[in-house]
Amino acid sequence: MSEYAVVAEGLRKTYGERTAVKGLDLAVAPGQLFGFLGPNGAGKSTTIGMLCTLVRPTAGRAEVAGHDVLRAPAEVRRAIGLIFQESTVDLDLTAEENLRFHAELFGVPRRRARVAIAELLELVELTDRRRSPVGTFSGGMRRRLEIARGLLHTPRVLFLDEPTTGLDPQTRISIWAHLHRIRREQGVTVFLTTHHLEEAEHCDRIAILDAGESVVSGTPAELKAVIGADLITLRTGDDAAAVRALRDHFGLDADAGADGVRVRVTDGASFVPKLCAELAVPVHSVTVTAPALDDVFVHYTGRTIREAEDGPMALAATSGR
């Protein structure tokens, strides 16, 4: 058994001519909240499919919870919980029935299932709606029910494919609160995909995937440290003079654009007072922006995640699943 909850080596999947995932390496430690980040069509869902034994890899190997996905698919399935991008609850059944059926399919003993269902409904705050048909639930409630269902057979790794897609911002926040809580209370490894960069900040570790390849991985802080510098945006009375002054006094390479003078420095907050003291031109406003994952994404892929989504790969997203 490997010490990692999820390991992949040279994992690859081709559909005919098209390569969805090109030789992926991954290692996720137990108990981690791991984010798999990339634009639509980058191969995230295909990777999850391979790790969950639903898609057969073309090459490479992967182990989940210590079991090889190709040689021991049944063991892998028992050890994982899976929440798909699309809603997969049974609308004709009640919340409780949905959970009970899942417990039966996963062979959870009835007595234990009864206790677990009550606890998990409490965890996702659906206890008072347990007897309502799921067809009457909102998107966020359905998603919460799915999270409860994914945890019912006490999996060691919980996979979530785009858990917050299609939900409103408020619901997204509540889903994240639930994810943190289950990670804390159940000690389960959480492996999720997202194309929202701001959500990746929640993760312990992230890997950025672009066009079927992992371009970089690390903690959000590590990745942002690669960018290294805060962005300072100045609005001044004379932008050209300010750029000159930054070059002459501080040796910094600034540029003047439509939104003012932009310059990158390592410690923005302590730089601002010095800057204001030295500058002869009037300063109207100063903004310091810490590096965001957006910058990291641009740094490694050469485009923003939105540009990447508008590209031809966006089409491939649907067929890749």
Binding site: C52, A74, F84, D90, F101, F106, R112, P133, R156
Partner: protein
């Protein structure tokens, strides 16, 4: 942190047969509950066979200048009642595949053959219940309420299981819901017309009677017709499929239907088990 790793011994490692039975039971129960909740669908599913019986039956009655055609149509009407919920299982598989629910089931650590068997039993139960609702109206068609009706009910179980298995087989082979509906409609209409359900299959020209002989529905209809009590469902002359000039034994007809179900079930389970 790793508390979940030390939970009680894995309950999933019980004997396989027990797991299979549990899987079959849960999928069956799901279909039955869905059937019970959706009263509108039940009502809709009964409308077309009843229209068939009342309108077509009454119309043909006057054409024939006598009575009794409703009785003749009755086995076909039973078949129509049974096929709707059976095929609905197939539709729900295709639908579930599109919506992702199917993957949710496929990731469960159970044998896929057990999933297929559970689905088929669920469809068979729903189909039989529809059939029972129509069977209650046997008197309308001039069929006496006699104990043989219980045998008919037993046959309906078999026929609706076969229908479901065929629908499931079609569903695992066809990925798109539009294609599925077109294929089913295209297949069902000639099968029904050439089954002897609407008109006797006896007087057909050679190539059509050959088509009747290879039509599984013809055997199902004929078996039902021969089991229904009284004479209302029968007409003089041959009405069902012929083997070398005479009607095959009832047991052979039922055996054929059962064999078809078994083949469909096995093929569907095998196709279902294949990973992407």
């Amino acid at each position: 942190m790793l508390a979940s790793l030390e939970l009680p011994p894995d309950p999933l490692r019980r004997n396989r047969f027990g797991t299979d039975l549990r899987t079959i039971r849960v999928l069956w129960l799901r279909e039955v509950i869905r059937f019970g909740r959706n009263r509108l669908r039940v009502a809709m599913g009964l409308v077309s066979p009843l229209l068939f019986l009342l309108i077509l039956g009454t119309g043909l009655n006057s054409l024939m200048g006598g009575g009794g055609f409703q009785g003749y149509l009755f086995p076909g009407v039973l078949l129509m009642a049974v096929q709707a919920p059976a095929l609905a299982v197939g539709i729900s598989i295709v639908w579930d595949r599109q919506s992702g629910f199917l993957r949710q089931m496929l990731v469960a650590p159970v044998r896929r053959a057990a999933l297929v068997a559970g689905l088929c039993l669920g469809g068979a139960t729903a189909g039989t219940l529809y059939g029972l609702l129509v069977l209650v109206l046997a008197g309308v068609a001039g069929i006496p309420y006699r104990p043989e009706l219980l045998l008919v009910l037993g046959e309906l179980v078999l026929v609706s299981f076969t229908f479901t298995a065929m629908g499931v087989l079609a569903a695992v082979c066809i990925k798109r819901i539009e294609t599925f509906q077109v294929v089913i409609n295209l297949a069902l209409t000639p099968l029904l017309f050439l089954s002897g359900a609407v008109f006797p299959a006896g007087g057909l020209p050679g190539w059509l009677s050959a088509a009747v002989a290879v039509n599984p529905l013809a055997y199902a209809v004929d078996a039902l017709r021969r089991t229904l009590p009284g004479d209302a469902a029968r007409l003089p002359g041959t009405t069902g499929p012929q083997w070398w000039g005479s009607a095959p034994p009832l047991v052979a007809e039922l055996g054929l239907v059962a064999a078809l179900a078994a083949v469909a079930l096995v093929v569907a389970a095998r196709r279902f088990s294949r990973a992407e």
